[in-house]
Symmetry: C2
């Protein structure tokens, strides 16, 4: 088998990036403009402003963001958004509705509770977050509903969009740009870049302008959506290089066929891997089938005592990053946009070889 | 004159980096470990943990950080520290003492006031921040004293260390690693990386462990020093690449001779430029001489009508980034660690040529 790289990178994030993007990302370090590196130019230079504008315009185009929304590239990771979202949008006398689908939702709930009143309206904690709650009622008087679209740790994902009577805030860190979404159904989308969009170090925020209201508390300037919108993500020095690489990655995505194309490819990769998980008697999936994540496929060995053998075989085949999250164990193959089908094929081959040896 | 680059980069930040660092920074993008880019590996991989440990250990060595301090690389820029510092260290019933020496101190004061009680004990606002206040009394019952060691916008810098009866928090964004400091005199030092330490995207925090106390309020997890110390900067995905380039930049600094060496070099650059500002009748400095910054030399034309001519001459000589901060105008030459003496020489030559033509 010919590998494009020595390593098949299934890392859950920071994660594999398109190889041609890496080449351009390195060129920008050495000579971005007039012999200067992208690392040493002012964030207020026209050259960087062009990068920022192109990045914003690619987000708009790739996700079909309608007018009336602002696109920001902020610091701090999605975890800072766990705080910023309620700080800006949870009114002092109101409450927010959260759905708990795992580690990240739990984190978002914890932070929101520090800021104001929170009502967890649905949770899959009863079954170790192996499914997406359904059929719950969204209260019409909540300030907003908070969702986590894809759960990287447990490997579940909302397949259907929820109809909500209140504005929806969604953490899309691990599936942004991996599938088509109807942005107009969301008031606020945030996503750490380090899965499908680029490297660690910046967070995409898409916010409906008329969702920005006074929550009745003074929000620290650096944490105010209003301030960041007014300053076009340049209120302080942004994470210049991370934004540059996001721009390059989105250029690549546009070139290969956009979100519609990549969604099809991602589905093919996931279907191929889950088919093997279901067929191969040495493996089993851990989540409810209908809620399986297209981005992070989780599975365990049916004979846990064979772990060392499988790990060794995987390692010899150059499979990297398939260990499950430290909080849950097992295996997790992250199938982000840039992961080629060949890597999934390589994993499935190892699973089959493992069956021949130990089945 | 032989230039190492086509451009002399006087940018105030993000700023010039050592050219050999850029080469290594680009190599890390293409192949950091086993054919994988530094951009696509997990922040929990042993390879990245080695980067983080080396970065911390270089900070410790270069600045002589004593035991009992923690070294963090956080998100958000120094501006997020404007919020985090009071959120963690300003007690609900106490107050903090701030000295206002310009734009950044003003920003820090504004954010602290959102969190708690602030007493501005000294300010140079009366003379447009052209000097560093002296001879003021530091109240012994304040939770802490907050200082800004170097003021990038106005071009002033504390030359002398203050003796303080209360813990000192210092924003050293624009002069960290440029001169020797006695870390033991500070309870908390923070610095955005994008001047002397590396690219934009991460912020260095050096905190005395026993300074971390319960302020009497619940601090959001992402904004808690305690949490970041306990998690060794890995509470969430850090700004991996920015930390990597900081490590490379500090390796370079160590190799060329450390902080003591670079302090001497920085002083030579500043002395050479200020001597010309003082000698050349077409220029004048804007700050009090004894408080002049070694990092950011500010000056104006004595005949403002000649601005276009000087700008054109500077541009033709490849001088980049010498325009003053948009809030104050005039000129500012930033003389950070990586700026070679040749660049200062090139600037002075243009100033002299300008005098020959227009003096």
């Amino acid at each position: 088998m010919v590998l494009t790289k020595k390593i098949h990178n299934f890392s859950a994030g920071p994660a594999i990036l398109p190889q041609e993007v890496l080449k351009e990302a390195a060129e920008g370090i050495l000579d971005f403009t007039k012999g200067l590196s992208i690392l040493e130019i002012s964030h207020r230079s026209k050259e960087f402003e062009a990068v920022l504008e192109e990045a914003k315009s690619l987000v708009k185009e790739l996700l079909g963001v309608p007018d009336g929304y602002s696109i920001l590239f902020l610091h701090g990771g999605a975890r800072l958004q766990f705080v910023m979202a309620p700080l800006n949008q949870l009114t002092v006398n109101g409450y927010a509705a959260y759905v708990n689908t795992g580690t990240w939702a739990t984190g978002a709930i914890k932070e929101a509770k520090i800021i104001g009143k929170v009502n967890v309206i649905a949770s899959s904690e009863d079954k170790k977050f192996t499914y997406i709650p359904k059929g719950f009622t969204i209260p019409a008087d909540a300030d907003y509903l908070h969702l986590t679209s894809n759960n990287t740790v447990y490997g579940t994902q909302y397949r259907q969009l929820l109809e909500s009577p209140v504005p929806v805030i969604c953490d899309m860190s691990s599936d942004i740009m991996s599938r088509k979404i109807n942005v107009s159904k969301f008031a606020l989308i945030y996503a750490g870049a380090q899965k499908n969009m680029g490297p660690a170090g910046t967070t995409l925020v898409i916010i409906k302008n008329d969702f920005i209201k006074d929550p009745g508390r003074t929000v620290p300037t650096m944490m105010s959506y209003k301030i960041h919108v007014e300053n076009n993500s340049l209120y302080n020095t942004p994470s210049v290089y991370a934004i540059f690489v996001c721009m390059l990655t989105m250029r690549w995505l546009k070139k290969v066929g956009g979100v519609e194309y990549i969604e099809k490819k991602n589905r093919e990769k996931a279907d191929y891997l889950y088919a093997e998980v279901d067929r191969n008697p040495l493996f089993r999936g851990v989540t409810v089938k209908e809620d399986r994540s297209v981005m992070n496929a989780t599975f365990v060995l049916s004979k846990p005592e064979l772990e060392t053998t499988f790990n060794q075989m995987a390692s010899e085949a150059g499979l990297s990053g398939i260990k499950g999250h430290r909080s849950v164990g097992g295996y997790r193959a992250s199938l982000y946009n840039a992961l080629p089908f060949e890597s999934v094929k390589a994993l499935v081959e190892v699973m089959q070889e493992f069956e021949r040896k130990k089945g």
